[in-house]
Amino acid sequence: MAMEEQLNLLKEEALAKIAAAANSKELNDVRVAYLGKKGPITDLLKGMGKLPAEERPKMGALVNVVRQEVTEVLEARAQLLEEKAIQEQLEKESIDVTLPGRPLKVGSKHPLTKVVEEIEDLFISMGYEIAEGPEVEKDYYNFEALNLPKGHPARDMQDTFYISEEILLRTQTSPVQARTMEKKQGAAVKIICPGKVFRRDNDDATHSHQFNQIEGLVISENITMSDLKGTLDLFAKKMFGQEREIRLRPSFFPFTEPSVEMDISCFKCGGDGCSLCKKTGWIEILGAGMVHPNVLEMAGYDPKKVSGFAFGMGQERIAMLKHGVDDIRHFYTNDVRFLSQFHRTEQ
């Protein structure tokens, strides 16, 4: 048989086998069989030595064309088979994307901590420091230094847990103010004091023998009631929304004079009156006032030269209002179904 004829036969044979290859392994066998070093095409090339010299180039070119053609068809088939294989794999790997994901463990801050940090950060941005002090206090710092001498009728306002005649569980965070003032020795003060306090109350939906307050104190030259109002206005808007309005009502605290209570316009009804604001349109938020001269004097300040304001509120009350919590005991029961509701952001 002429070499050319032989070559064409080989080609037809190879192409048929390529087309028949069902996967890349079979295809590879075809590659090895026809194009490999021991394959028939290579054999043909080796046998070209027997041809007359003038036929050799023509025959060589022909072999290369066939080789080229077979290779191309084979590559095309290989790609096709690979795509098919990938397709099959993808189909096999398909999942139900609606099944739940693997839950990551998340915890969160206690809602009171959330409130405190929000308040702390607001005042830190205005140059306040955070001051802390002991929870077991001297009668002196809890009462006397705050213009509440022994026997003062206002001491009835707070029923106190005493440890001894002179030592007690603090009933307010104000002793931190007294201690800070004493330590600052006449220098300006700008502090926020968060902390735990104790009163002789039976625990119920609105009372807790342990609860938390957060107070602020500013002492410097020329501090005015207007400065207090401006500061509280900013606080109210930041905590309860830009649309909030505040109003001050006269009140009484032994350590401030004048003393006021601050209401904010109801954030539920916008001031029209609802159950939250008891139909008044206003919600009581905190107590405040200008620091009483006796308090300044006792801490070593000259009330003729400096003045100051102070304000204080219950953390629980703020958290209850902000989040609609209806029972103060929730904050101390540590029910995971309660705590787990406070991990998300609100903005």
Binding site: H110, E135, V136, I223, G230, S251, P258, R337
Partner: protein
């Protein structure tokens, strides 16, 4: 303080304001109105009737069938169950169609007898039972005989009235009287005050002919005034007086007692009435009690007194505890004819001590405690004499018996308008200031640009310049105050390093899956030191409310375990809580307990729970340990922390460790002892507590980057067979020690304790990493270093596999 507006109108014009509007004005000016109660609310179409006939109900013992006259053609039949109903009485009737606070009235049949409505008690009109006069408290109320049939009983009873409930702050004791409230409202509305009338006819006899007075305790009792009223007829008070007392929250008794109570409410001056004849001696001596002296007070209780209690005596024995309660032996009774009226000023602290001591608090003692107006002692006595003359037919003896060493001068305050404006940050004119002070009925003069203020003695709270600032501000209106921000030196502010790191600790713990808990600092004696990291003398309350909350805790763990138990009892399968709070240890030099801030955690249940993929892992010791290690890593203290086997009462003896920071014990971690778990209804539960203050006080170096290695490391694994009690950490220490500087990392990668091991042995496998950041290591170097490791391990009796 309950304020009847009808009563208040006697002293000040209320300008026809709606009660709610008036209440708002009072609140905004400084006295909070806690409630506005319309006394006639829910009632209409009531009628006065006269009981004409009464027969027993044939079917029911306790019911009477009454025929009641309403001035109509026919009598109306009403069945009444009250025991005191009687023919001839003028009664309050709710006829069919009438409304009572309890609902609408309908015609009814009671045991077969028609009843056209009901005859009412005062309770059925919404009056509290404890305020209803005793004789009517178990039955219907009987109106005076002259009341016309067919009249509106609400009108007759004076119930078309509104009562404001004032929430008084301790400084405003001046408003514990109708006159005080009148002055306040007068200032708010710019109205003048009409004072009560004090005129009466005096008899020719003098009070001093009847009564001698001596005060032996002028500090406790600087002023005492007594008047004597003869020929008094003790009887029921007129309806208007009873109604005013009930509106003020006081139960009517008889005209003499009612007058003293009326004046207590009107002037804020407590009075006491003695039966002159029962007094027996014609003498009053005020003195401190003798130790152990006894008196039976009006409530029929015998009281034992001490030398701090002030008493009124008849010269022989106590007849009253001053300012607190009268004695039974001198009480006014139905047959009393001559009355001694006491109007006195008792020192607040003395009354406060005695009323606390005897556990007796009353409207009177509350007023003495807060401090009376010294200028009302006499007018109050005069007013009482006038009313006794008018209402009890009494004959007032001329003059009074008086002891008086009381300072009655008003407090003077000199204040500059500039000071007032500086405090407020405002520019209120001098004229406006003067006009406000005049509305308050303060005596005010201006000279040299200063305000000279004489505060009336009823306002005991006005003493210093700042008090004037407040008066001006509250009546000028806080709405008028500007909103500014403090100016002056700007301060950087911010958290201290400790506070900042504490926030990091918290957010780390939250990030790894723990919820922040808040539990109580007060606990029981038994729990106060349970699981404690360290103990010291405990701090206890003098008077705890319960044993459960009697002692300050020295460990956070017990309450966290309670919280875990609470959650598990409510079907929580996993609980992971932490708390940062103080424990209270011993006493510092200052005499206060050492408050040490700790961090503690409890975990129980599943740490990993991905049920549908079949992945579930219970919490174990190493979950909690990993959290602790991660925390120290976060704080840059990973190399400073170590764990050491330990025993702690209440924890599993084989699964408890101390946490060491730079070799010092600062914490503990462990599994709850199985018996504790069972007692708390818990499955496997792990706890830890560490001294946060000790952790946060360790400062870490500045963070400087270490070059990322550019050359490959060489890894060698070693499997060791050792005694089961050998600590992996000890083996690791040996390896690190022997491995020299080339050995950069050692890690446990396998542990086997199963039955293929020889009894009492375990297999631990370590992976060792050798490298040098600046060059590639040669085989020889690694072999040399590793041989040292193997040698050291062999010397330590570790069998290399």
């Amino acid at each position: 303080m309950l304020v009847s507006l009808k009563w208040l109108e006697q002293y000040v014009d209320l300008q026809g304001l709606e009660p709610a509007v008036l209440a708002e004005k009072i609140t905004r000016a400084g006295i909070e109105v806690d409630g506005v109660a319309d006394l006639a609310e829910g009632m209409k179409k009531l009628m006065v009737g006269e009981v004409k006939e009464k027969v027993k109900h044939p079917e029911a013992d306790k019911l009477n069938i009454c025929q009641v006259d309403f001035g109509e053609e026919e009598l109306s039949q009403i069945v009444c169950g009250a025991p005191n109903v009687a023919v001839g009485q003028k009664v309050i009737v709710a006829r069919p169609g009438a409304h009572l606070p309890g609902g609408k009235i309908k015609k009814a049949k009671l045991r077969g007898e028609v009843s056209n409505g009901m005859i009412c008690s005062l309770q059925e009109l919404g009056i509290e039972g404890k305020l209803v006069p005793k004789e009517y408290s178990e039955g219907i109320f009987v109106l005076p005989a002259e009341t016309p049939v067919g009249a509106d009983p609400l009108e007759v009873l004076g119930l078309y009235d509104t009562v404001l409930e004032l929430g008084l702050t301790p400084n405003r004791s001046d408003a514990m009287s109708m006159l005080g409230v009148a002055y306040e409202v007068g200032a708010i509305l710019s109205e003048d005050i009409k004072l009560p009338e004090l005129d009466y006819k005096e008899s020719a006899e003098k009070a001093s002919d009847y009564l001698k007075l001596r005060v032996d305790a002028s500090v406790e009792n600087p002023m005492y005034v007594a008047k004597v009223v003869k020929n008094v007829k003790v009887a029921e008070s007129p309806l208007w007086l009873q109604q005013r007392l009930m509106a003020a929250g006081v139960r009517p008794h008889n005209n003499v007692v009612d007058v003293t109570n009326y004046i207590l409410m009107e002037y804020g001056q407590p009075l006491h009435a003695f039966d002159y004849d029962r007094l027996g001696t014609g003498e009053i001596v005020v003195r401190l009690a003798n130790e152990g002296e006894k008196i039976t007070t009006l409530d029929d209780k015998e009281r034992t007194l001490n030398t701090k209690n002030l008493v009124i005596t008849n010269g022989k024995e106590p007849v009253a505890v001053a300012g607190v309660m009268g004695g039974l032996n001198s009480e006014v009774h139905d047959g009393t004819t001559t009355v001694v009226i006491e109007s006195a000023y008792f020192e607040g602290l003395s009354v406060r001590y005695t009323s606390k001591d005897l556990g007796l608090r009353s409207d009177a003692s509350a007023r003495f405690e807060k401090g009376l107006d010294p200028n009302r002692v006499i007018p109050a006595a005069e007013r009482a004499a006038k009313l006794l003359a008018e209402l009890a037919g009494g004959e007032v003896l001329a003059g009074s018996v008086v002891f008086d060493e009381l300072d009655k001068t008003p407090s003077k305050v000199i204040v500059s308008p500039d000071f007032i404006n500086a405090r407020l940050g405002m520019k209120i004119s001098l004229d406006d200031m003067v006009s406000i002070l005049k509305r308050l009925k303060f005596d005010v003069e201006t000279a040299n640009g200063m305000l000279y203020v004489d505060a009336p003695t009823r306002r005991q709270d006005i003493k210093i310049e700042e008090d004037i600032v407040e008066e001006i501000a509250r009546l000028y209106g806080y709405d008028e105050i500007l909103t500014t921000m403090p100016i002056g030196e700007s301060t950087p502010g911010g958290l201290t390093a400790y506070q900042a790191k504490r926030r990091i600790v918290r957010s780390y713990l939250e990030g790894v899956g723990l919820y922040q808990a808040l539990t109580y600092s007060l606990t029981s004696d038994a729990l106060s030191q349970k699981y404690a990291l360290e103990t010291a003398s405990v701090t206890k309350l003098l008077m705890p409310m319960s044993e459960e909350r009697s002692t300050l805790r020295q460990s956070l763990i017990p309450h966290l375990v309670e919280a875990a138990s609470y959650n598990v009892a409510r079907q929580a399968d996993t609980v992971a809580l932490y708390e940062v709070d103080s424990v209270f240890l011993g006493l510092t030099e200052e005499g206060l307990p050492l408050e040490e801030e700790h961090v503690a955690a409890v975990i129980t249940g599943n740490w990993l729970d991905h049920a549908w993929q079949g992945e579930q892992k219970k919490v174990d010791f190493f979950v909690l340990k990993g959290i602790i290690e991660g925390l120290f890593d976060r704080l840059g203290l990973a190399d400073a922390v170590a764990f050491e086997r330990a025993t702690v009462a209440g924890l599993h003896p084989g699964r408890t460790a101390s946490v060491l920071l730079n070799g010092k014990r600062i914490g503990l971690i462990g599994q709850l002892h199985p018996t504790e778990q069972k007692a708390n209804g818990l499955k496997e539960t792990y706890v830890m507590e560490m001294n946060l203050a000790a952790i946060l006080e360790v400062s870490t170096e500045a963070l400087v980057y270490v070059p990322v290695p550019r050359f490959p490391s060489m890894s060698r694994d070693i499997a060791l067979v050792v005694d089961r009690s050998t600590a992996a950490a000890d083996l690791e220490a040996i390896i690190r020690q022997a491995g020299g500087t080339l050995l950069k990392d050692v890690r446990v990668f396998d542990l086997y304790e199963g039955d293929k091991m020889e009894e009492g042995k375990k297999s631990v496998a370590f992976s060792l990493q050798y490298f040098e950041p600046e060059r590639t290591l040669t085989d020889e170097e690694v072999v040399a270093a590793h041989d040292e490791v193997l040698k050291a391990l062999a010397e330590a009796n570790a069998q290399i596999r």
